[in-house]
Amino acid sequence: MNNSTNIHDDELNGQNKKNPFETGNAYFKNFSSKIQNRIDEYEELSSIAPLLSAIPKYNPFETPKAYFDELPTSIQEQVIKVKNTVTIKEWLIQIFQPRFLAPVLTVLIVAFTGINYLNKTTTIINDEYSIYEELEHIDESTLIEEVVALKTTETTDENEQVVDYLLENELEDIN
């Protein structure tokens, strides 16, 4: 026991005694001038404002209990709220930046053309669909009558055209 204590003491008293602390580079160089500046300031204050310099300088304000312990959490919560709104805003700002203008315009044009094309196709399909749907509701016999009537009209028209043609040609021959 004694031996180990002696060894320990020897280590403490040994030649490798070294201060583990350090100061800034120019700490001691500037120290006296720092102190002098503060003395000068105090003396100046005392000479122009003796009442003020006699009042003890301390902070007379307080905060609610644990305010500084809770503040970081409260600020983080606020930041998360802002983060979400900022993201949408930033996204819009980013989109309208000049470097993104060409790609954004291309996407918009492609999207517009696509939507336009889809709308047209849908209208055509809808039109076709509506014709077939209507035909389904019409009685078959009515349809046959209509087709026959149409054919008769067409034939009459064709006959009239032939007669007109013959008449015109004959007249030309006479002349």
């Binding site: 003796p50 902070n59 007379p60 304000f61 905060t63 609610p64 606020q78 802002v82």
Partner: protein, 181 residues
């Protein structure tokens, strides 16, 4: 800029350590900024509002901080601007002239539950409140925060000479107030 601040900024730029770095920044500077704002606005609740806004602004703009000045100078500048803007808005709402804040803030001081100063401290605070906003700011930064004129100049964007003269005038006005009251 100190190595700690440099490291903090680098961590903030990395999305993975961004929240951690910001939390460190809040913990590191919250007290200094709080007391700076509190001396301008007097009331704790107002100070709390402004301080939260300051940190949100810091969070939004820290990426654009180039490190031309010290981080704490930049933070002080934001805190000062936010406090002055808040004070002016409050004065407008209360229809108080912008250069006349003493009555308005003295009322804050009297109703403040968190003011624990004795009679002489209350008197000193009232004397400080008679100063115009900018002069009051200079006085508080020099007298209580013991900031160097060079640092104050960076924060307030005013020359060192003008700040010295402003402080000198403020001290004389306060002394006059203390003598006459």
């Amino acid at each position: 800029m100190s190595t700690d601040d440099q490291e903090l900024l680098e961590q903030f730029k990395n999305p993975e350590t961004r929240n951690y770095a910001f939390n460190l920044l809040v913990r590191e500077y919250q007290k200094r900024l709080y007391w700076h704002i509190r001396k301008i606005l007097i009331d704790h609740d107002d100070t709390d509002d402004v301080l939260q806004n300051v940190f949100i602004k810091v969070w939004k703009n820290l990426d654009s901080f180039k490190g031309d000045s010290l981080l704490y100078t930049w933070l002080y500048r934001i805190a000062t601007n936010e406090s002055i803007t808040f004070l002016n808005q409050k004065k407008k709402r209360a229809s108080v002239p912008l250069d006349e804040a003493s009555v308005f803030l003295a009322a804050n001081l009297e109703s403040d539950h968190y003011f624990k100063g004795d009679e002489i401290q209350a008197k000193l605070q009232k004397a400080i409140l008679t100063l115009p906003d900018k002069q009051r700011l200079v006085f508080n930064m020099k007298y209580f925060d013991e900031l160097k004129y060079e640092a104050m100049s960076e924060i307030l964007g005013t020359s060192v000479g003008a700040l010295k003269s402003s402080y000198h005038i403020a001290v004389k006005k306060i002394e006059e107030y203390l003598k006459s009251n």
